[in-house]
């Protein structure tokens, strides 16, 4: 058997793969949360619900509108993005100048309402979504069997994360976003329409959550509480990476997926808590997070 120092390589690499896949979702979601937190300074509790909405939209598209996976991958993030823009304009904007606690409660409320509606309409047991034909099957590697769809998730989310990182760190639009994060009032005085950038940023973050939802539909069951389950972990990841740090959110997302996977192999009992343990350790030693700037 493929064992080395009592380590079962099949099982270990299997857990690593699962870790990388979870990490891909963590990274995509943490990225959106970090962008929104950076510019709007709100903790977007509806992020998980937007992710769930993305998965359900893909499912509804396939079931009722003959909209296949690939179309969903394009259209659903756009739709969720527009939904995010509407949320920002109609609900979040009016209380933007209040204490941030209000927007936290508001977005939490939105999440509960969405989750409640989908439980009411579709039940809470979860719906199946078939892996698209083109990505069925898999590849046999020396130590593991790699399903094509899972390889696709990892590659695709890496590309999306890298693209977003480039957009924010290397382009003029990104410079507006970074500067707006630091000093929105001065940006306004330079003649930049900051409220518009805020709206588009929220829409973009929401779109990323929707995209993660579509990616997740074929491997996790499409269920109303899928978002709230993952969101708490993603919050921990944003804190570990450093609130508002884009690169930090991506790297920490992937890394924490792997850490979780390794823990599942070596000490499964701790796999649900290991990320929070890391969070505590990071907060104790580096309060601004691994990649955050000290205030």
């Amino acid at each position: 058997m493929a064992t080395l120092f009592d380590i079962n390589l099949f099982a270990l690499s299997g857990q690593l793969l699962i870790g990388l896949i979870n990490g891909s979702f963590y990274a995509l979601l943490a990225l959106g949360l970090a962008i929104i937190f950076g510019l709007l300074k709100i903790i977007n509790f509806s992020h998980g619900a937007l992710y769930m909405l993305g998965a359900f939209s893909a499912w509804i598209g396939l079931e009722y509108l003959q909209l296949n996976y690939w179309w969903a991958l394009v259209l659903v993030p756009l739709g969720i993005g527009v939904f995010g823009i509407l949320l920002e304009r109609t609900l979040i904007r009016p209380i933007a100048h209040e204490d941030h606690l209000y927007s936290l409660l508001l977005t939490f409320g939105i999440a509960l309402i969405l989750q409640g509606l989908f439980t009411h309409w579709f039940g809470s047991s979860g719906l199946p979504y078939a892996i698209p034909e083109e990505l069925q099957g898999g590849t046999r590697l020396p130590f593991m069997y790699l399903p094509n769809y899972r390889a696709w998730i990892i590659m695709f989310s890496l590309v999306v994360c890298a693209g977003t990182w480039y957009l924010i760190e290397k382009t003029k639009l990104g410079a507006y976003l970074r500067a707006g994060t630091e000093n929105p009032q001065l940006m306004q005085a330079f003649g930049i329409n900051v409220p518009l950038i805020v709206t588009l940023t929220y829409g973009f973050g929401a779109g990323l959550a929707g995209l993660a939802g579509v990616l997740a539909a074929p491997i996790y069951s499409v269920a109303p509480e899928m978002g709230s389950n993952i969101l708490i972990v993603v919050f921990a990841i944003v804190v570990i990476g450093g609130m508002g740090s884009i690169g930090g959110a991506i790297l920490t997302g992937l890394a924490m997926g792997v850490v979780e996977g390794l823990t599942k192999y070596f000490y499964p009992e701790a796999s649900n808590t290991v990320i929070f343990l890391v969070m505590v350790l990071v907060l104790l030693t580096k309060p601004a997070g691994l990649f955050g700037k000290e205030a």
Partner: protein, 242 residues
């Protein structure tokens, strides 16, 4: 008669009437009146807390609430959203300089959108501020205080702004840099730019300014032309408490 009036108001770049400004409940400006003609360099003098910075921030619509009239280049702006004001040709340099730490020098320089077509080119700016050229890839806030001040000035010159609102640009800088800034302001004045300068350093402002407004408790209490400066030195010393 009307032709003369028009010619006069055309040359007037900035006119403020009965400006009141508030931060939350506190009433900071109590009816400011001032006017600046094209190519003038005018200072706002006064003690700390007299409302000079607030006057600049009120012009940019960066205060909580404001009322009265602010006419820029012939446009009434009191009800204008903040992001449209710069596009009338205004460039604002805040007291804290406002260099963005998440942007490098070049990104900081290129950040504000052009507000008029004839701004200084990047080459001209690097010729005026050679230090910035050398450090173009450095993080904005890693520059020295003087270099940050140069960057904050350069940034608004690139946009083509022809009315500059400059807040305490010499604060905390070495004398040699203050001299450079005086040279820069003189050059800008020669180019026909209109400048409103909030300044603590009277010895910096006196030789280059055309007029001075003295502020106290949110009012303008005195207007002094450069030619009257000597005669009114005594009075000024009382207002400024030096």
């Amino acid at each position: 008669m009307t032709a003369v009036m028009n010619a006069q108001s055309q040359r007037e770049k900035l006119r403020i009437n009965d400006l009141h400004a508030f931060y939350g409940e506190s009433h900071i400006l109590h009816g400011i009146d001032l006017s600046i003609k094209q190519g003038e360099l005018v200072t706002l003098l006064g003690r700390n807390g007299s409302g000079r910075t607030t006057t600049l921030r009120a012009i940019m619509n960066m205060v909580g609430k404001r009322s009265g009239s602010i006419n820029i280049n012939g446009h009434e702006t009191i009800d204008m959203p903040g992001h449209r004001i710069a596009h009338l040709g205004l460039g604002y340099c805040p007291e804290e300089r406002g260099i963005f730490s998440s942007l490098n020098v070049e990104e900081n320089l290129m950040l504000p959108p052009s507000v008029r077509s004839d701004g200084m080119s990047v080459e001209e700016i690097y010729a005026m501020f050679p230090n910035l050229a050398e450090r173009r890839k450095s993080q904005g806030t890693r520059l020295s205080g003087g270099e940050q001040q140069m960057l904050a000035m350069a940034r608004i010159l690139r946009t083509g702004a022809n009315i500059l609102l400059l807040d305490e640009i010499t604060e905390g800088l070495a004398p040699v840099i203050v001299q450079t800034l005086a040279k820069v302001l003189t050059q800008l004045k020669q180019r026909g730019l209109t400048i409103l300068l909030v300044e603590q350093n009277f010895r910096f402002a006196a030789p280059i300014a055309d007029r001075h407004y003295v502020m106290e408790h949110g009012h303008i209490v005195e207007e002094i032309h450069a030619s009257e400066l000597e005669a009114k030195t005594e009075l000024l010393n009382i207002y400024l408490g030096v």
